[in-house]
Symmetry: C2
Subunit: 351 residues, 2 copies
Amino acid sequence: MGVRNASRGPGRPAVPTGAPPTLADVAERAGVSRQTVSNAVNNPDLLRADTLQRVQQAIAELGYLPNRAARNLRTRSSHLIGLRISAAQEGTANATMDRFVHSLVETSRDAGYHVLLFAGEADDPLSGYDDLLRSTAVDAFVVTDTYLGNPQAGWLGSRRAPFVAFGRPWDAPEAHHPWVDVDGAAGCELATRHLLERGHQRVAWIGWRKDSPIGEDRREGWRRALHAQGLSSAGLAARVDDTVTSGAQASAALLDDAAPTGFVCASDTLAMGVLQTLAARGLTPGRDVAVVGFDDSQVAQVVTPGLTSVRQPLEQVAIEIVSALEGLLGHPPRVGDGVLLTPTLAVRGSS
Amino acid sequence: MGVRNASRGPGRPAVPTGAPPTLADVAERAGVSRQTVSNAVNNPDLLRADTLQRVQQAIAELGYLPNRAARNLRTRSSHLIGLRISAAQEGTANATMDRFVHSLVETSRDAGYHVLLFAGEADDPLSGYDDLLRSTAVDAFVVTDTYLGNPQAGWLGSRRAPFVAFGRPWDAPEAHHPWVDVDGAAGCELATRHLLERGHQRVAWIGWRKDSPIGEDRREGWRRALHAQGLSSAGLAARVDDTVTSGAQASAALLDDAAPTGFVCASDTLAMGVLQTLAARGLTPGRDVAVVGFDDSQVAQVVTPGLTSVRQPLEQVAIEIVSALEGLLGHPPRVGDGVLLTPTLAVRGSS
DNA sequence: GCTTCTGCTTGGATCGATCAAGAGCACCGG
DNA sequence: CCGGTGCTCTTGATCGATCCAAGCAGAAGC
């Protein structure tokens, strides 16, 4: 310390030059011990008022901020939250993810955390997690792709790694890790009711194949809304791949066979297919046939009449997730339950 | 150490339980000193072959990975790269950013770095940077929004903070920090030439207002392509805000006044406006009038005939950026020049 | 046989923070 | 006058890795 302090006396300007100031530098300037400075930062209540102010002034003058690495080492926590971004899938789900990441970063900041992004091997859903965990690089994870029936949740659980899932544990309903999800069924019920209220009697469904629990859940919302009005859902549904072409084909077939006046879709991508079919047949979306998508993506906003779409409350999702994380990382840890949020409907020209 | 080692003898199973193994644990198990283990990890060449193998086996058996915090503290580097994500702007630029982040994360991983996301106050372009810098939380930054004439570059430079910019220093051409950018002019020249080759003689431009250097740069590419063919660009250009409506209005006016048969736009958003106008007039994109956008966003891919669009080589951008970062952080630091990459054209139904 | 030279290995110090325990002081009741 | 009780602040140890300089072999040279 001697050498160091000799080179940075109290007369030193506050403008940062060379190495950043350390706790010891602040201590010397304020004429107190290191521990007192540490307390001033972490437990201000312990100090006498005048001492606290003296230390705080020294901190301000030197522009001191605790060294993360040192603090992390001592406290065994990094205040980082790991988020694995999946392989670049150029689908509309992408945009959702982007909005979510934004929200997560901002919410985390307010809670004193930063988000660490990482990528893994495409074929191994677990890669990346293990290294970060063993090297104590992150305090916890946010897991997003729970829908693949993928082993992350169980694996992380067995390692006692703190994590919160965005998405229900579809495969294992009895799982007792915290999760936050959006109620897709409620969203589609909302969308369907919206069309029914506008006078539509025959509202069709275009969703994903049966092996997708999310798709089945959303479909259930559509069915529920119809049945609540005493309407039949028979013959009004299609289950296809999540592509524009599939949506176009499915809607063409449904128009021919069942003559629906409205479509509720499991995704904006499928809805775009419907719009394509309508255009090809000279039908005007919103006037002749109503269309509702899901995700409120970029596309829904810029497409010509505007696409009505179910919008996930991702800001709220982020808030709930961070709240759950704070619980997990608190002392003592508090393990919350699952949280299910209700989406809203962004109404545009297509309905 | 004594207590700790007593509780985790050599017979310890490899399955992680409780605290992760430390370098000292590995050393004891392999019957060597800590430094030898450290060398086995960081400078394997220094060890005799049989010793190295013994150590590596111990590492594998214990599942040892160096503690990040401890390593960071000692080496004064975190192997983290900071990336500030701008306020959630729901524009097509969003999608570009998303693709870029993906690429950056993957490329960084291969170079041994992770990406730390952070947010700042919306009104202060510098907030967030300072804290991370002073707390030595990141080794370097990637700066993305250089177009606002914003002070980040200069500020970071004056603090001697290592950073690489995605985007040219438009305001300060003589700036000597490393940057990587995409040649917008070349992209638009490519797009325009593409239309000219398809027989179009009158190709119009719809771009941003004059205060955007990026917009002017892209416009220059369009102009260059026309002039190269001895064609005039007079009366064929509009400068408007980056919205669908503006694009629609501008294209309508241009169609009335100058009867172009093709449009090159500064963004996919504007191009969507053109498509809207064409639809309203009963014109078929691609057959009657050609349209080219910029960014190859989600929208370009799912819109009905498919929107031809200039695609930025973001994967390559990420590679160049990480390479520049490695230079900056190397010993001795190597400061590279600016790198300008040429985009490609994703041809679809609209042309 | 003794010295010198590599080359691997070793204990100790260090990075900058926090934890745990102790020391100095004023104030209180006995 | 003394021991106890807070309150405030200080000292020494510690987290787990890497840097440093010294130690200790074995091989080569005289």
